[in-house]
């Protein structure tokens, strides 16, 4: 089928360790953790105290700015520990599961009869709301606004990311029901699928369908919004991951919060990269044990994909949003004369100063080495090469660093999220931290513009 959006820019990083489309099994853990930091900008106010019993789906904290947004427990059992950091900021909320999954039940009327307001309060009370995020700013959606549309990316292009159609294979009905629910919250629901998609996603009803052709970051929902209906100053759009659309559909059918999460455990040092049926907040250790890690030295465990995910550790837990768990070897070693051009081509490079471009089919076992040191911005044009948007990335980043709000608006800060700049991080010759710069700039905009 033909594509209605074709993106030429971008970069697919040929990384080893893609998940084969099979499920591995693991011994379910009984320790679960919720990280409030997963919800950027939310200041948590605890409802449940340490040592108290909780049921699955029971609210454990709410957002200080929007008390109606409830965050719920992924298991039934006991809240064992609240880990605090500097200024008593809550870092982790730990649970011990009793394995019974006693769930908080909500009364749900049939979807056809449900008004938009009722649906909204159900989602807020049930803990489903935080799955809906908003652009601009890439934060949990503000329930008091009406977005110009809800955007869902039905495919991923990030390195080794979980395959959407495969994950949703057995949840097609839930996904369709979730879409029906979302159509009540916004004038339009947009679903983007890959141009060559033949899965059930192509026949989903009630959405405006877009067929997108392109390499990473074509699968990023922000890039898709930019080409479908770009966000102007003062407008908002909501975004939600496809698996979480199905989750909302399931909640409306059963009345209980479903914490299940299909995770792809991937990476060059993973022995059997594959999918696992897990749960939000589950400890990563048993998952890693199930697929096997084969590394000589230390490893980096990443909640999410290797470009935009966040670092966790062997004793850590899955995050709230990610359905990919990536494992890389730490690159904390020296390479003699590693900067010489045309040698060391076993490290992939977008630049043709390495010979890796002569081997387009090769896959690489990349590690976390910076491959150089941070430098002043010298090389031009490389950022533009990996950002398929009508945005001047270098100029925008410079205005972000200068915190020039008017210029940031003019150059399109409302249209970007940190993940859209992940490839800029990757490709930068000067090793700049573009995602961090964009995140800080968005926080400045939240504070100054709101």
């Amino acid at each position: 089928m033909s594509a209605d959006i074709t993106l030429k820019k971008g970069l697919n990083i040929p990384l080893k360790g893609d998940a084969s489309k099979v499920y591995s099994t693991h011994k379910t853990s009984n320790t679960f953790t919720v990280y409030p930091d997963d919800f950027h900008g939310v200041v948590p106010k605890m409802i449940v105290k340490e040592g108290e019993n909780v049921s699955l789906g029971q609210p454990i904290f709410f957002s200080k700015a929007h008390p109606e947004i409830q965050f719920v427990s992924p298991v039934s059992g006991t809240l064992t520990k609240i880990v605090r950091g500097a200024k008593r900021r809550i870092l982790e909320i730990e649970f011990a599961s009793d394995g019974k999954d006693k769930a908080t039940k909500h009364k749900v009327t049939a979807l056809e009869k449900l008004a938009a307001d009722e649906l909204k309060s159900l989602l807020l009370a049930s803990g489903c709301w935080p799955f809906i995020k908003q652009r601009p700013y890439d934060v949990v959606a503000n329930p008091n606004t009406t977005p110009k549309g809800i955007f869902i990316s039905g495919f991923t292009t990030a390195p080794l990311a979980a395959d959407v159609a495969f994950v949703l294979e057995s949840q097609q009905e839930d996904f369709q029901n979730g879409i029906h629910a979302l159509t009540k919250l916004a004038p339009k629901v947009h679903l983007s699928v890959a141009a060559d998609d033949t899965s059930f996603l192509s026949s989903v009803q009630g959405v405006e369908m877009h067929r997108v052709k392109g390499i990473h970051p074509a699968g990023n929902v922000g890039v898709q919004i930019h080409h479908i209906d770009p966000i102007n100053a003062g407008e908002t759009a909501w975004v939600i991951n496809p698996e979480d659309v199905a989750r909302i559909g399931r909640f409306l059918a059963t009345g209980t919060f479903d914490p299940s999460r299909t995770v792809a455990v991937v990476g060059p040092v993973v022995e059997k990269p594959s999918y696992l049926k897990s749960r939000i907040g589950e400890a990563v250790a048993p998952l890693l044990e199930a697929v096997g890690i084969n590394a000589n030295g230390q490893v980096r465990i990443v909640n999410g994909d290797v470009l935009s995910g966040s670092t966790t550790h062997a004793d850590g837990n899955l995050g709230f949003y990610n359905n990919t768990l990536s494992v890389l070897a730490e690159g904390n070693h020296y390479r003699m004369f590693g900067w010489l051009p045309f040698v060391g081509s076993n490290i992939f490079s977008m630049s043709r100063t390495s010979l890796s471009w002569l081997m387009p089919k090769r896959k690489y076992a990349l590690n976390t080495n910076m491959n150089g040191e941070e430098r002043a911005l010298v090389v031009t044009g490389e950022m533009e090469q990996v950002l398929p948007m009508d945005i001047f990335p270098m100029q925008l980043l410079k205005e972000c660093m200068a915190q020039n709000i008017e210029k940031m608006e003019g150059l399109g800060i409302y249209e970007v999220a940190p993940e859209d700049f992940a490839l800029v991080d990757y490709a930068s010759t000067s090793k700049i931290e573009a995602q961090a710069i964009i995140r800080e700039a968005l926080d400045v905009m939240i504070k100054e513009v709101g």
Binding site: S308, I347, S351, G372, G412, A427
Partner: protein, 384 residues
């Protein structure tokens, strides 16, 4: 890894909180030359591209080498041919090397000393940009320029054109060209005329080393064939004469993506079109000088390939690079044709466009901002 352990031991007093911490950038510059450091990603993307600034800059140096080596040879060749002494290839190369290597040493010595001092003073790592500048400066000087002038020009360029603006990545003007412009205006007798372009020309009477553009500006005929001009067996600044070897460098820069092909193509198009128009007019010797010859004499090819493409001082937007390149070409020919006092136009053309590059970019970026404003206004007025 014995060497690594020894290095770590040497670096210990320069570590965080140690006695010589502030001199760490100077030591790191040598260490990172031997080893890509063991730094890992700590925020942002967890994997990074294999490229870094060192690799990029060294690629530029590789691209410069063919023209450099030919320049060394041509220095000896011009000397022996003009003085009528029999010679071999190695004689020519040796003569050139004895003249040029001291210039390279002075250029790197003075420039890197200033760069290291500023890195320590400002507390940042030493940037690799000077590795290229330091080689470029001798390549674009006349061969007989005194070494102290090379040193002084380099010091002026690094201090005034680069560090005064905030260092690497912040400069408006190309540092190497600034060094040449400084020498050109401060010591014109060493930088122009007909006695400076061939080795020993001012000492030996038999040698007249006029450049082709110089002869044309003086209204004289040119005795070189087009083939000589293309290969580069003509008098001129050390490494600018050979279009052939400059093109080899251009191929390396374009193939690796390190140099902007848009600027190079733009420059050639701009110069060719302008020179062609002047051919039709033909009011003086330089105007009627065949447009194809304009592209292969003087420093045009060298300037457009290696100097105009400096990413820091050139335009930075894609559209801006085209405009900038074309204008460099146009102004180069304009200066050559209309200003006989400066027969070589490319240096001034590039410096002029360096100054205008931010303005070009400004209008390109402003176009993007205007598009976005227009879209916003369209969304605010509902379609009726």
């Amino acid at each position: 890894m014995k060497l690594r352990e020894r290095l770590d031991a040497i670096k210990k007093p320069f570590g965080k909180g140690q006695k010589f911490e502030r001199f760490a950038p100077a030591v790191n510059a040598f260490d990172t030359f031997l080893f890509v450091p063991n730094h890992t990603t700590h925020k942002g993307a967890h994997i990074r591209d294999g490229v870094d600034l060192k690799r990029t800059m060294v690629t530029v140096i590789i691209a410069l080498l063919p023209a450099f080596i030919y320049g060394v040879y041509n220095t000896g060749y011009q000397y022996f041919i003009q003085s009528g002494i029999a010679f071999t290839f190695w004689d020519a190369l040796l003569h050139g090397a004895l003249k040029i290597m001291p210039m390279v040493a002075v250029s790197y010595g003075v420039g890197l000393a200033i760069e290291f001092a500023f890195a320590v003073y400002r507390g940042h790592e030493v940037n690799e940009g000077y590795l290229v500048t330091g080689l470029l400066v001798p390549m674009i000087m006349p061969v007989d320029i005194p070494l102290w002038m090379v040193g002084l020009s380099v010091a002026f360029a690094v201090l005034i054109a680069k560090e005064a603006f905030g260092g690497t990545g912040m400069n408006i003007l190309n540092p190497a060209l600034t060094a040449r412009a400084f020498a050109f205006f401060a010591y014109p007798t060493y930088m122009s005329g007909n006695k400076v372009w061939v080795s020993e020309a001012s000492n030996v009477d038999g040698i007249s080393g006029e450049t082709i553009l110089g002869s044309l500006a003086a209204g004289n005929d040119v005795s070189y064939s087009m083939f000589d001009m293309f290969v580069g067996a003509i008098p001129g600044s050390i490494a600018e004469t050979s279009t052939l070897w400059v093109l080899v460098g251009a191929a390396i820069l374009i193939l690796t993506g390190v140099g902007s092909w848009r600027i190079m193509v733009g420059g050639v198009l701009g110069a060719a079109a302008t020179a062609f128009l002047f051919n039709l007019w033909g009011a003086n010797a330089l105007m009627s000088f065949n447009w194809m010859n304009h592209l292969i004499v003087g420093g045009f090819a060298f300037g457009v390939v290696f100097m105009a493409t400096d990413p820091v001082s050139a335009a930075q937007t894609t559209k801006g690079k085209w405009i900038y390149g074309v204008l460099v070409g146009i102004f180069c020919i304009l200066i050559r044709v209309f200003n006989p006092a400066y027969p070589e136009g490319v240096m001034l053309a590039i410096l002029l466009m360096n100054v205008f590059a931010p303005t070009i970019d400004h209008y390109v970026v402003e176009g993007n901002i205007k598009r976005r404003k227009k879209r916003l206004n369209a969304s605010l007025t509902p379609a009726s």
